[in-house]
């Protein structure tokens, strides 16, 4: 079985696994990450979103082979308490969650949006997050947090 190579959060990574295995299982299993979360297994809720290249994709229905030689960013690669991403700072500032389970995926969708469109309108933020589900009803806080992060990035 050929090993699959990709860059995970900037680090060259090689995985010895069935290429048809799901990316989420590999990230959470042998690679030991806890940023991406399992929610539905069908690409419908977005809790598992990671950025592949420049796009947020659902890791729960993406086969491992689909990320061969690509850049994969998970929540762990977005920032750290020492060097937080503007979105992470903004989500704390806005207290933008209740349970926070969906936030891992929401942050990745938002990060992909800001890469492509650093100054989105509120409508564009909602559209970009429309394939992420939040059951607790924290959507408005999350939208405010994304706009805050965009604003902060533009003014610093």
């Amino acid at each position: 079985m050929p090993n699959i190579r990709f860059r995970l959060n900037g680090t060259p990574t090689e995985v010895d696994a069935d290429p048809d295995e799901l990316l989420l299982d590999v990230l959470r299993g042998p690679l030991g990450l806890t940023g991406p979360h399992f929610g539905c297994g069908a690409g419908e809720c977005g809790a598992c979103r990671v950025i592949v290249g420049d796009h947020a994709v659902t890791a729960c229905d993406a086969p491992l082979w689909s990320v061969a030689d690509k850049d994969v960013t998970t929540l762990e690669g977005l920032g750290s308490p020492e060097r937080p991403h503007p979105l992470q700072r903004a989500f704390i500032a806005e207290q933008a969650m209740q349970c926070g389970y969906c936030v891992a995926g929401v942050l990745m969708s938002a990060a992909a949006l800001l890469r492509q469109n650093p100054r989105p309108t509120e409508g564009q933020v909602r559209e970009a997050l429309d394939r992420n589900l939040c059951r607790c009803g924290s959507q408005n806080r999350m939208v405010r947090a994304v706009l805050r992060a965009a604003n902060e990035a533009a003014t610093t």
Partner: protein, 708 residues
């Protein structure tokens, strides 16, 4: 004047030992152990605020301990918007008493009168620069003593933290992807389990071919006991593969028949019931009635649909001792039921809480804990993590019960209400584990020697009731009769979902009032103010109306509606103005809410809970309905059970009326009833159509138009 003898707060009376709540750790921290658990509502932060405030320590010194049957106070279940009321009051009292105890000890050591001492971040100091601290004194002050009534908490003006918005303690972990959820549990030699569940309701497993599952790489064990079956494997991927193989080799009985999802009222009213008169009020004399109005309202079964599937970890530490990690709302209650199923004494079962995703009531958290315990029997001591599938989460957990509600009003010659009648048909709204002599965990019904399926009951009125919750009008109608008919059959499994019956009852009451008021040509806010006697109620009604500039000038395609309730008739007050746009589909544009929870410990936390409740309620009213055919639940995915999306979420504005002098109550369930009623009333305002059967979908609008 005699004042009543002081008593201990409810949770402290049940768990009086002070050391079970608070410990001073050697590293300069204060460990606080509430019996209530974090379910995404921010309770842990609010409790930390209360403790830090009463003890006079920085909140950064507080270490919150997750509930465990090893050492935590037994506070029953984290539900019913009671955590601030029960845990908060207990902690405030316990901390106030502990502060006094330490001040007395410090006084003795320092030779200074206790009333001359002050506490600042745990350091106790007095005149002449004498000082000590909680931690220095911790060895000589035993907290292994019972709380006594009468400890005086701080004056409101002296509270530095409670009443101020505080950042939630759990949020940093969640934005950095740290291991925080039960789903992320890492234990040495951890295995993964999956359970096989039937498609058809309560089908029995009659045959099982295991060979293909056994051939999956990483396979460890198959477990079968009657209709309960599952697999354990080395990885999640292999467990899923083995489960799929097992499913192909399974044969099931046909299962039980389900009701007609398109005529729930007829089904509910045709079942055998236990009827209870909830309340009556009779008037000495009223104006004679000249006519009677009668309406029927229904709500469907509603799914919890938590964003994460339920998960648990179990490990048998020896042949008859098991350790369980769970996101259950009640670790002690779960232990009771596990003890019944496993026929083990309580002390052989240890249960620890870990956070799950948002919890809105009795979801499958407890069920999956038993699943994990049963599967872990097959692993010779290795821990097993079991996670349900999305489909099982959407179909096999308990649902919020469907309801049919008939409301009648006798009107006098001037159109005033002289008598009001309200009758509810619904399954019970509570079948939580740990409260009876029989377990209520799903796998317990599936074993070779099964336990009987518990038909859901209703909590007593004193605890807020169940199907009848919020059925007694909050208005000053001169006479009424309120009845509840609880079904004695239960083809669809029901239990506690946020607000229990309050959502349906408030929808019915506030919708019916709106009909009567519209017919009278009276303003809905004026009518409510005229019939409410409680000033706190009037204040939220006035505040919501004022903030929303009630009532905005008519605009084509836009409607405005009002809703009010006091949750459980004893809890938080909430009034709502809904602004909607509607033609074929309804779009909620804006919700303006005013809320009074008494003392808001963490005002931003209260706003967050109210916003969340309002948005979830909008989702319920516009979209949500558990779907089934005559044999099985069919809404088993997000496609078949859609919820509100980012682009559909309304603007939500919340005003909190802060009442520091009044004991706090919870906020998590205050918004649902009034929001749903306000939206339904706005739909009428916009389209002139009354939708009395939830959810308000395009099909229901068309049906309601045809009816009227």
């Amino acid at each position: 004047m005699n004042s009543p003898a002081p008593t201990l707060p409810f949770s402290l009376a049940a768990n009086p030992r002070l050391s079970s709540w608070i410990k001073f750790a050697a590293d300069g921290k204060v460990t606080v152990s509430p019996g209530k658990v974090e379910i995404g509502q921010g309770i842990v932060t609010a409790l930390a605020q209360i403790a830090a405030d009463e003890l006079d320590v920085e909140i950064g010194r507080v270490r919150m301990v997750r509930a465990t049957t090893v050492s935590s106070p037994n506070e029953g279940v984290t539900s019913g918007s009671l955590s601030i009321q029960q845990s908060g009051r207990a902690l405030r009292h316990a901390c106030a008493e502990i502060r006094q105890i330490f001040l007395a000890a410090a006084s003795e050591r320092l030779g200074v009168e206790a009333n001359m001492l002050q506490v600042e971040d745990g350091t106790i100091s007095g005149p002449g620069n004498v000082r000590t601290s909680y931690w220095e004194l911790a060895d000589e002050v035993s907290l292994d003593r019972d709380a006594t009534p009468g400890a005086k908490a701080k004056a409101i003006a002296d509270r530095a933290l409670a009443g101020q918005s505080a950042q939630r303690l759990d949020i940093p972990d969640k934005v950095f992807g740290n291991r925080r959820f039960i789903h992320d549990t890492a234990l040495p030699d951890l295995l993964h389990g999956r359970v096989l569940r039937p498609e058809n309701a309560r089908a029995r497993l009659v045959g099982l071919k295991e060979d293909t599952a056994r051939a999956v790489p990483g396979f460890i064990a198959v477990m079968r006991d009657g209709s309960f079956a599952g697999v354990v494997c080395e990885t999640e991927a292999s467990a899923t593969a083995a489960l799929n193989a097992l499913r192909k080799g399974a044969t099931w009985s046909q299962g039980d028949a389900l009701p007609d999802e398109n005529d729930l009222a007829a089904f509910l009213k045709a079942q055998p019931v236990e009827s209870t008169v909830i309340d009556t009020r009779t008037a000495a004399s009223t104006a004679p009635k000249v006519r009677t109005l009668k309406r029927q309202y229904t709500r469907p079964y509603i799914a919890h649909a938590s964003i994460a599937p339920s998960c648990a970890v179990a490990q048998w530490t020896d042949e008859d001792s098991v350790h369980v990690w769970t996101h259950s709302q009640g670790v002690y209650l779960l232990r009771n039921d596990l003890s019944l199923v496993l026929k083990l004494p309580l002390e052989k079962i240890t249960i620890e809480h870990l956070e799950g995703a948002g919890c809105y009531g009795h979801n499958p958290a407890d069920d999956v804990a038993l699943d994990a315990v049963l599967l872990a029997k097959a692993t010779a001591g290795r821990p097993v993590r079991v996670q349900w599938s999305r489909a099982d989460e959407m179909t096999h957990g308990p649902f919020g019960a469907a309801m049919a509600i008939e409301v009648e009003a006798d009107l006098d010659a001037s159109g005033e209400i002289v008598e009001w009648r309200h009758s509810i048909w619904s399954n019970g709204h509570a079948a939580r584990p740990g409260r009876g002599t029989k377990p209520t965990l799903l796998a317990g019904y599936e074993l070779e020697q099964p336990f009987p399926i518990a038909i859901s009951g209703n909590p007593p009125q004193a605890n807020g009731g169940g199907g009848d919750r919020n059925s007694v009008p909050l208005y000053d109608f001169p006479a009424w009769k309120i009845e509840s008919h609880r079904l004695l059959t239960m083809p669809v499994r029901t239990s506690a979902l946020r607000t229990l019956g309050a959502q349906g009852n408030v929808f019915a009451i506030e919708s019916f009032l709106d009909e009567i008021v519209a017919e009278r040509g009276e303003d809905p806010v004026a009518f409510r103010l005229r019939h409410l006697k409680d000033e706190r109620a009037k204040d939220v009604v006035r505040a919501a109306a004022k903030r929303a500039s009630w009532k905005p000038a008519p605009k084509a395609g836009t409607g405005y509606g009002f809703g009010y309730s006091r949750y459980k008739n004893t809890g938080a007050y909430c009034a709502v103005v809904a602004e909607i746009e509607g033609e074929e589909d309804i779009r909620v544009k804006k919700l303006t809410l005013a809320v009074d929870v008494g003392e808001a410990i963490n005002p931003d936390g209260v706003i967050n809970q109210i916003e969340g409740g309002a948005i979830q309620a909008t989702s319920w009213v516009l979209k949500e309905r558990v779907r089934f055919d005559r044999g099985r639940i069919t809404s088993n995915s997000w496609t078949d059970y859609p919820i509100l999306r980012f682009s559909e979420v309304p603007e939500v504005e919340v005003e909190v009326i802060q009442r520091s002098e009044i004991d706090p109550v919870g906020a998590g369930e205050a918004a649902h009833g009034p929001v749903i009623a306000a939206i339904a009333n706005a739909v009428f305002d916009c389209l002139g159509v009354r939708v009395r059967n939830l959810p308000i979908t395009r099909d229901r609008l068309i049906a309601a138009m045809a009816e009227s």
